[in-house]
């Protein structure tokens, strides 16, 4: 029984004053290495939380283990730093128990793609209303630099001194294959881009998967420089937007043309002399296009950033028939106990 003590007055939720990033900042000292990309991600997350405006008490951050997974400690919402890889499952339980909560899950590439790959797949397939944020530094940061499932082939690390022979996983492809209905990509330092992606992820009622390219200054420094660098980034990435032509380049002089017959993409010139209809228009509801975009990893094709795929569908908790607020009561229990064949002894 949830007996409320009348002497204790819970603070009224103040819904009038707009929230700021400060309202989501906990009193804990942030303990990442100076220069770690997670700082920028944290900043974007706090700004997004203030922007979307859910009360801190209604927001829950669940994480696994790793550098990235320290996120909950630094946010003034409810938080649960759990065990390596299992955060999507914990978060599923949280959401089942209270579907009104705004639930976010943060974990690194090791957390989500290695030990927790199974749970990632099933959260996506079930379309549980969670926002999954995966800072991808292509390395195991917290355990001091071993290669991860996202590391490039040939990466030298303490556990692969001769260079890793393994092929890396493409997280966005994996998510699409698992049935994700929202797949996006951004990068830590792209503060003009990341908050918008986070906001779109939050708006999706279902599992939103966001891969955030993140720099680990200590163990994999510069892994994504080519993508993020102001000079080269414009040539090496493409920011996709629903309904807009797939154009990139510092001078917006290149486009992506998709050949639907072969399911491949190629770069075509845009502007003077180039036929405008050669450039494919982004349709975020098109799974085939999403798959082609997710697969673009350079060097001849730009890395796609933004919402690659978004096909809204009913979420797990919405689909469950049961009323999530209902609890068995004594009358129901009495009925249940006496159901079936009974006999009476007097």
């Amino acid at each position: 029984m949830n007996v409320m003590n009348p002497d204790i007055v819970a603070p009224e939720a103040d819904t009038t004053t707009p929230l700021t990033a400060r309202d989501f900042t906990s009193d804990q000292e942030v303990r990442w290495c100076p220069g770690c990309g997670d700082y920028a991600i944290l900043k974007a997350v706090r700004a997004t939380l203030a922007d979307v405006g859910r009360r801190p008490e209604d927001v829950v951050f669940v994480s696994g283990i790793g550098c990235a997974a320290r996120f909950p400690y630094y946010l003034a919402s409810y938080g649960f730093h759990t065990i390596h890889g299992r955060a999507p499952a914990v978060a599923t339980g949280v959401k089942m128990a209270n579907p009104d909560l705004d639930v976010w899950v943060v974990g690194g590439d090791g957390d989500f793609l290695s030990i927790g790959g199974n749970h990632l797949m099933h959260a996506l397939r079930r379309n549980v209303d969670l926002n999954l944020l995966m800072p991808n530094n292509a390395v195991y940061g917290l355990t001091k630099g071993q290669y991860s499932p996202a590391s490039a082939t040939g990466m030298r690390s303490p556990s692969s001194p001769g260079g890793s022979v393994e092929a890396p996983v493409n997280a966005a492809m994996l998510a699409l294959g698992a049935g994700a209905r929202f797949v996006a990509r951004s990068a830590d330092t792209l503060q003009d881009h990341l908050p918008g992606v986070l906001k779109a992820a939050h708006a999706n009622r279902g599992t939103s998967f966001v891969e955030i390219l993140q720099n680990c200054v200590v163990f994999n420094d510069g892994a994504f420089d080519a993508v993020k660098d102001k000079a080269t980034g414009a040539e090496r990435t493409i920011r996709v937007e629903h309904g807009k032509p797939l154009i990139f380049g510092a001078n917006a002089d290149k486009g992506i043309h998709v050949d639907w017959a072969t399911g491949t993409a190629r770069v075509v010139p845009v502007g003077d002399g180039a036929a405008a209809d050669e450039v494919t228009v982004h349709d975020q509801t098109n799974l085939a296009l999403a798959t082609i975009l997710a697969r673009m990893e350079g060097p001849d094709l730009p890395v796609a950033l933004g919402v690659v795929y978004h096909a809204p569908g009913a979420s797990f908790t919405d689909l469950r028939e049961d009323d999530p607020t209902r609890t068995m009561d004594r009358a129901g229990l009495s009925r249940l106990l006496s159901a079936g064949k009974t006999w009476t002894v007097s």
């Binding site: 029984m1 204790i8 801190p56 008490e57 649960f80 759990t82 049961d322």
Partner: protein
């Protein structure tokens, strides 16, 4: 052999009770026969205990010995507490069933056989070189060899039923009900409940229902019209003299399902049962899934780790998180239990033990997960461990686990096993109005709130849940500062938190009942100590020994961690102490470590089968 008198067949000693065992192929509907006979025995007012004994394979090749399914029941008066050591009436529907089950039949016991199944092929499949019906190997028993298949066909296809669409195949499937009809006749039991059940079961095909009822009736009539010696003593079985009330048949699985539902109703917390299918625990998931829509939530997770962590998530968010499994799944949950212990969240973890290690024998009983439950975690993470001693006790034990979990903010491990899970006994419905609330304290003052500030009596921390304003906090597996809950690597703090986690168990010990002698003498020659599903057999044996004048006592431990108060004093009142368990001595080791000066003796068995009264009896007599 029909001329052998049957009246004197049952042993004259003990209370009037009879043990019936149905055996046949997995496809013969043996478990259905068992549950129908159980129901009718209950309605006839008998006490009973059942023991379904079936293979793990869904449908092993028909006719083979490893495809044999059996169901044993003892019926009689109040004294019935076990499914019986030896069988008085064995129904064997095929040669393989005879071969594997004959050892359980007592000399002079009645053997009911379908001779039509004892053909060349059937005998070969069972590995018989000669026909046991002809080679004299059954001379010690009273054999009723009847052409059950032929008689069933005749009955099932008569009265225009063949014309109505009942095939020979349909008719053959009804032969188990023919046999049941004859068994009903032997025990003078009413078969109308089974007839009604058949009507519902085959509701869409009334002609099939009618064929089965015809077989049931034909079996019954056979007893009347043939010169079958009336099994007089079976007809005068003691009726139970139970307490007044309303009763139903309860299995251990039912007890857990109803207990968890009751815990939800009494606490006002919505139940979240998270599980991954595994024998024999899956039946809990099935039972609770039927209650979706009535305030119970179930979640079939992708594996046991997800099941445990989702349950932890549900508890974190304010629900009653429960996860259930059997041995191998319990191993997978180990890391998650460490988290729940560190986060100090209420959680119930059910382990329906089965014979291991690894896949072992999934449908067979063993109590060998005790060590894992007590100690199978990384770091020091002591947790309460309770064991259910039978179907009805499963209900009570679940409620105790829920009360402790929420009062003390701790995970609780509840051990059942493959025997208790499937065994059935009569259960008096509890008075729901008289059941105490499981109080949940959500009066948390945000002023000065810290997630690890503790109640001074219980050492429980406050259970603030997401959605409550002013109480937002961060929980985690990294060591938490006593009080504030912030990350702390401080050496003294870790010592303090480790001590606090251990001290919580002491508080739980104070909260739980003290040790007591359950059956027999409070002091004397021998004390037998057991836990879990062995209660019935220990109790029966001790009652019999007491009746013979031996000073024997029986103590049954529900609380294995923390162990109850007053153990040492009680142990001191007996000359010798026997610890009986279906493992190689796990509780025994625990008791020896705790009370090194007491000479405990182990009585152990790891065959996948429960103890018999004879085994316990012989072991206890060694100390007389």
């Amino acid at each position: 052999m029909l001329d052998q008198p049957f009246a004197s067949d049952l042993p004259a000693t003990g209370t009037a009770a009879a043990v019936v065992r149905f055996a046949g192929d997995s496809g013969d509907g043996i478990q259905t026969l068992g549950s129908e006979f159980t129901k009718s025995s209950a309605l006839a007012g008998h006490g009973f205990m059942t023991f379904p004994d079936f293979p793990a394979e869904i449908r092993a090749p028909a006719g083979t010995t490893f495809g044999v399914s059996a169901f044993q029941i003892q019926i009689g008066g109040d004294a019935v507490k076990t499914h019986g050591d030896t069988v008085d009436v064995l129904v064997a529907l095929n040669p393989a069933a005879l071969k594997t089950n004959l050892p359980s039949l007592r000399p002079g016991g009645l053997l009911l056989i379908d001779t039509d199944a004892f053909n060349k092929r059937g005998l070969e499949k069972a590995g018989y070189e000669t026909n046991p019906l002809e080679d004299g190997s059954l001379d010690d028993y009273r054999v009723e060899a009847i052409e059950i298949s032929r008689l069933t066909r005749e009955a099932a296809l008569a009265d225009g039923r063949a014309e109505a669409g009942v095939t020979k195949k349909d008719a053959d499937k009804a032969r188990n009900f023919w046999a049941l009809g004859l068994v009903y006749w032997m025990f003078e039991q009413d078969r109308s409940a089974t007839a009604a059940w058949l009507g519902t079961k085959f509701g869409k095909r009334p002609e099939i229902a009618a064929a089965n009822v015809a077989a049931l009736d034909a079996g019954h009539t056979y007893g009347d019209v043939t010169d079958m010696a009336p099994p007089t003593r079976l007809r005068t079985l003691a009726a139970a003299q139970p307490k007044p009330g309303t009763y139903k048949t309860l299995t251990g699985i039912d007890g857990i399902v109803l207990g968890l539902t009751a815990a939800s109703a009494l606490s006002g917390l919505r139940l979240h049962y998270c599980s991954y299918p595994i024998t024999p625990a899956s039946a809990i998931l099935h039972g609770l899934a039927k209650l979706e829509g009535e305030g119970v939530a179930t979640f079939q997770a992708e594996d046991e780790i997800a099941a445990a962590t989702a349950a932890i998530g549900a508890s974190f968010a304010g629900g009653l998180g429960v996860t259930g499994t059997s041995g191998p799944g319990m191993a997978l949950k180990a890391e998650a239990l460490g988290l729940a212990a560190a986060a100090e969240l209420p959680l119930i973890v059910v382990d329906v033990q089965r014979a291991g290690p690894s896949t072992g024998m999934p449908t067979k009983v063993e109590q060998a997960d005790l060590n894992m439950a007590l100690k199978g975690r990384h770091g020091e993470a002591p947790l309460p461990v309770f064991a259910a001693a039978g179907p009805g006790d499963s209900f009570d034990t679940v409620l105790e686990a829920a009360r402790v979990a929420t009062t003390f903010m701790t995970p609780v491990i509840l051990l059942s096993d493959a025997y208790t899970a499937n065994a059935a006994e009569p259960w008096r419905l509890p008075d729901v109005d008289a059941m105490a609330d499981i109080a949940i304290n959500r009066d948390i003052d945000p002023e000065g709130f810290h997630p690890f500030r503790r109640d001074q009596d219980t050492l429980a921390r406050a259970w603030a849940v997401p959605g409550m304003p002013g109480l937002a906090h961060r929980l985690g597996g990294i060591e938490r500062s006593a009080g504030s809950g912030h990350i702390s690597y401080d050496p003294d703090n870790h010592q303090e938190m480790t001590d606090l986690r251990a001290a919580k168990l002491d508080r739980i010990r104070d909260f739980l009942p003290a040790a007591k002698i359950e059956t027999g003498d409070d002091a004397g020659r021998v004390l037998v100590v057991g836990w879990g599903s062995t209660r019935g057999v220990l109790k029966s044996t001790v009652e019999e020994l007491n009746a013979e004048g031996h000073a024997v006592g029986h103590m049954h431990l529900r609380n294995l961690s923390p162990l109850p108060r007053g153990l040492e004093e009680t142990f001191g009142l007996f000359d010798s102490i026997v610890v009986a368990e279906l493992n190689s001595g796990q509780l025994l080791d625990e008791l020896r470590a705790r009370f090194p000066h007491i000479p405990f003796r182990g009585l152990n068995k790891v065959t996948g089968q429960p103890f018999t009264v004879a085994e316990i009896d012989a072991a206890l007599r060694e100390d007389f």
